[in-house]
């Protein structure tokens, strides 16, 4: 979220009353401008759907909101969202498992590092739409294709951060643990794992953002159910209302996942390592 200038208790004594008042005014001014911004956003949307286009080309915000609500209450919504969510999570987990091994390899071995670097740079530069279309050719319309492609795209990001986490471990802690006679498995679970987890989670979050975009796009080309498929179906039947409503719902679910789930895990991990 946005960072706003705030007044901490320590700084309070330093600031004169006038400066404090000014800071409070500035903060309210900022909040006010955010509110105006949202009103303007919705206003411009109305303007576009009434004046520039017609409501059939771009439905008004309240129509989209109504359509979203109708979708949520229908059974269709649950099956499609479940299918998409399952694929994102399955791909993501597959990527996490692969990344653990590959991250370990590239952290410790220069030969594998050079090899994987070349492959990763190729995969990362490939436009995701090309991957989505190639998925359609290789796997046809199936559930497996989106999962594999999602995993392929997410793996580099987690892998990098696993290696990052392993190289960022404080050696003094390890030396100390060894001189206090800790066993190898104790060092792994007590030092290596916790101190690399923060970095791994940061990578996992980025990988998740990449994964759901990839999954959505793959579903548009090569799936017979799921949110991406519904968006495509709406597009092909000129149903802009349904298209925007499905998109909004999917992004909402993914952002909730990204912000709530990952932030919660991060907070817990930080609590444990602190």
């Amino acid at each position: 979220m946005l960072t706003v200038p705030s007044v901490t208790p320590d700084a309070m004594s330093e600031l004169s009353a006038r400066e404090m008042r000014r800071a409070v005014v500035r903060r309210w001014f900022f909040r006010f401008s955010v509110l105006i911004g949202w009103i303007a956003f919705i206003g411009v949307w109305y303007l576009f759907s009434r004046v520039v286009f017609n409501p059939q080309q771009l439905p008004e915000p309240h129509v989209v909101a109504g359509e979203s609500w109708t979708l949520i209450t229908e059974r269709d919504f649950r099956t499609n969202m479940q299918a998409s969510l399952f694929r994102v999570l399955a791909g993501f987990l597959l990527a996490a498992v692969a990344s653990t091994g590959l991250g370990w390899l590239i952290a410790y071995n220069a030969w594998w590092r050079t090899l994987l670097r070349t492959i990763v740079q190729f995969v990362v530069s490939t436009p995701i739409v090309a991957l989505a279309i190639l998925t359609l050719v290789v796997f046809g319309v199936s559930s497996l294709g989106p999962i594999i492609t999602t995993a392929l795209v997410a793996t580099p990001y987690i892998m990098m951060n696993v290696a990052q986490g392993l190289t960022g471990v404080d050696r003094r802690l390890i030396v100390m643990s060894e001189s206090f006679g800790r066993t190898r498995s104790q060092i792994i679970s007590g030092v290596l794992l916790p101190s690399s987890l923060i970095s791994v989670l940061a990578g996992a979050r980025l990988a998740f953002a990449v994964a759901w975009r990839m999954e959505l796009l793959t579903e548009i080309f090569a799936a017979s159910e799921g949110v991406g498929f519904q968006i495509r179906r709406s597009f092909e039947s000129y149903d802009v209302r349904g298209m925007i409503a499905w998109t909004v719902l999917f992004i909402a679910v993914m952002l909730i996942f990204e912000n709530l789930v990952f932030r919660q895990i991060e907070r817990r991990m930080q609590g444990r390592t602190a």
Binding site: S33, A110, T118, M160, L166, E178, L217
Partner: protein, 331 residues
């Protein structure tokens, strides 16, 4: 191959970074890959963890040394990718093999006959797509830059427009592509609008974070020392924001290419995406895969050989040390 990798710790203490550093030159900080987990925790790799050196290690025998040359390893990597493709071609019934694709694309480029009335077409779809792409970027990047400067410079504008920009950024390119093609139909407008709409938020968000990362103390100082306005702009603003600006532009260029293809695939009557779709609908998979491959090749070459290098230069200028794996690998 794996043998080479795993045999490393068995060698009596081969220190790679010392072995192939040129005499007299300061040895670059390089990870000691000769250690694996088994040889002790003390020798964990440090950052920046470099790749294999330019020459093989003297501690290895001659054939192994060849296998450890960086370009040989890169060659192996590409061979693995091609082998996967060839495997898929043999195993799957829809995947065309490499030679089918190559011969099809040769016919396409030379304008030969594909059988029947179908004649190869190459330069006209490619030229049209590149034209649309260039126009879209020429509108989208400056527009994003203006928005980004405003977002970074003024709190009022940031309050007003930051959330809107984030909403635009969160929308996947495919949704923009669909909306643009529903609004503007089969003309050239739809692809151009899609490129513009995907480019703007990437440039704006990155540039605004660049402007906001400029040290306010430096601004104060340049004001109190009465540094000329031109120098303030060039040294402070440009020097501070250039790396972020380049990252934004690079992302805009790569995602813009992405959305161009989506629009052309679903609603166009010409262009690279349309041509790929045409061969897909005609069940001529070699042509379809060939065009997709060409599409990937164009952006990969542009991205790797031009954009990332320029970006790296910009980062070096601003003295930002590349420290993380991801930055070092250009991700």
């Amino acid at each position: 191959m794996t043998d080479v990798a795993h045999s490393a710790p068995a060698q009596p203490g081969p220190n790679e970074s010392a072995a192939h550093a040129p005499p007299g030159a300061p040895a670059p900080p390089r990870a000691n890959d000769a250690t694996t987990f088994a040889s002790g925790f003390q020798e964990l790799p440090t950052l920046p963890a470099g790749d294999l050196g330019p020459a093989g290690d003297r501690a290895y025998s001659a054939p192994r040394r060849v296998l450890r040359r960086p370009w040989v390893v890169q060659l192996i990597a590409f061979a693995i990718l091609l082998a996967i493709w060839q495997y898929l071609a043999v195993a799957g019934d829809r995947v065309p093999s490499i030679d089918e694709v190559v011969s099809f694309m040769v016919t396409e480029i030379t304008g030969g006959s594909h059988g029947g009335v179908l004649v190869g077409e190459f330069w006209s779809p490619l030229g049209l797509s590149l034209q649309r792409y260039a126009i879209g970027l020429a509108i989208g990047i400056p527009a994003g830059a203006v928005l980004g400067l405003l977002l970074g410079a003024s709190n009022w504008v940031r309050g007003l427009l930051n959330d809107t920009t984030l909403v635009l950024l969160a929308l996947p390119a495919v949704v923009w592509a669909f909306l643009a093609s529903l609004w503007f139909g089969l003309s050239s407008t739809a692809p151009i609008v899609a490129v513009v709409l995907t480019a703007i938020p990437f440039v704006a968000i990155n540039l605004s974070s660049g402007v906001r990362s400029i040290d306010p103390a430096l601004m104060e100082m340049s004001k109190s020392y009465k540094v000329p306005r031109r120098n303030q702009i060039v040294d402070l603003l440009l020097g501070g924001t250039l790396p972020n600006a380049f990252t934004g532009v690079r992302l805009a260029i790569t995602t813009g290419w992405n959305s161009l293809l989506i629009v052309e695939w679903f609603s166009a009557t010409a262009g690279v995406g349309w041509r790929a779709r045409f061969w897909y609908d005609a069940l001529r998979y070699p042509g379809f895969v060939g065009w997709i491959f060409l599409f990937v090749l164009l952006i990969t070459v542009l991205d790797r050989l031009v954009l990332r290098r320029v970006e790296r230069q910009a980062f070096q200028w601003s003295q930002k040390p590349t420290l993380t794996f991801a930055e070092d690998w250009g991700m």
